[in-house]
Symmetry: C2
Subunit: 167 residues, 2 copies
């Protein structure tokens, strides 16, 4: 099903994934008192206009089930990192919003995390491989978006018949 080269590449990906995820968790927990999931949420919000996102959009972006997000936001909200606010556009919907404390936690966590990423990821990487790596990852990302079960983030995905370029 896979060529030998593909298999080796896949195994390399899995090895990196398993180890690096473990180490990231540890680094964030130790340096900043945040779990990796916490950080994923804070980052997604911090990168968004107004530091707020509707729950479904946020969940899609970070690849979570909505119920998981719901539970997790409840816990983060207890810790004062985020707030829930009713959406202004859809009265069913809820937005997650960064609180000042959340913004501060994100700002404090980012530098040590960036240092970690440099040490663990980029310092061992031949600079000539940076561009191909990035392109490869972007191609894979596009592939996952196209063939995956989650909706594509960032646009409403209205499914208007006859519209769009995907047909």
């Amino acid at each position: 099903m896979l060529t030998a080269d593909q298999q080796e590449t896949w195994f390399a990906y899995m090895r990196v994934l398993l180890r690096l995820t473990y180490e990231m968790n540890r680094q964030l927990q130790t340096d900043s008192g945040l779990s990796l999931p916490d950080f994923d949420v804070l980052n997604a919000l911090g990168d968004s206009p107004g530091e707020r996102l509707q729950l479904t959009e946020l969940a899609t972006r970070i690849g979570w089930e909505r119920s998981r997000l719901s539970h997790h936001l409840a816990r983060m909200s207890d810790r004062g990192l985020v707030e829930r606010a009713p959406s202004t556009t859809d009265r069913r919907a809820t937005d997650a919003v960064l609180t000042p404390a959340g913004r501060a936690a994100l700002a404090a966590a980012t530098p040590p995390h960036a240092a970690f990423v440099r040490t663990m990821f980029f310092d061992g990487l031949d600079p000539a491989l940076l561009a191909p790596l990035r392109t490869a990852l972007e191609q894979v990302h596009e592939q996952v978006l196209t063939h995956g079960t989650l909706p594509r983030p960032g646009r409403p995905q209205r499914r208007l018949p006859g519209l769009g370029t995907d047909g």
Copy 2:
């Protein structure tokens, strides 16, 4: 801390990681009734001589805490996928061993999973990028092994003073 190029590459990695992990979970669960953690364990055992590994070695290989592995093996053992057997070399130690049912589950799960990997990962990837991608991942893996907190898998790590090439 990171160059713009590094940042984009890192974000691409995280996006792929989040989405792909989600989709892998789904695929395995749906097609084979296994969770991704189940599959990680089965794979590691299947790749090992005698389809058995000492717990600490197994945990290190897949980037888990030992207690997590202990709990998880208890559950997998209840389902008949693995067995615990006392190690032959160290009476403190326990080996995890694949049962026939575990071997069968692994064998059954592998083809659909390989198909999934091809579809989600390799089919969208420019073949010219395969080799650089693999090399890049291997370099990162090496980096994580060198600078991470987990011991390097595959050798006992005896820490004999004056031995070894690590300086």
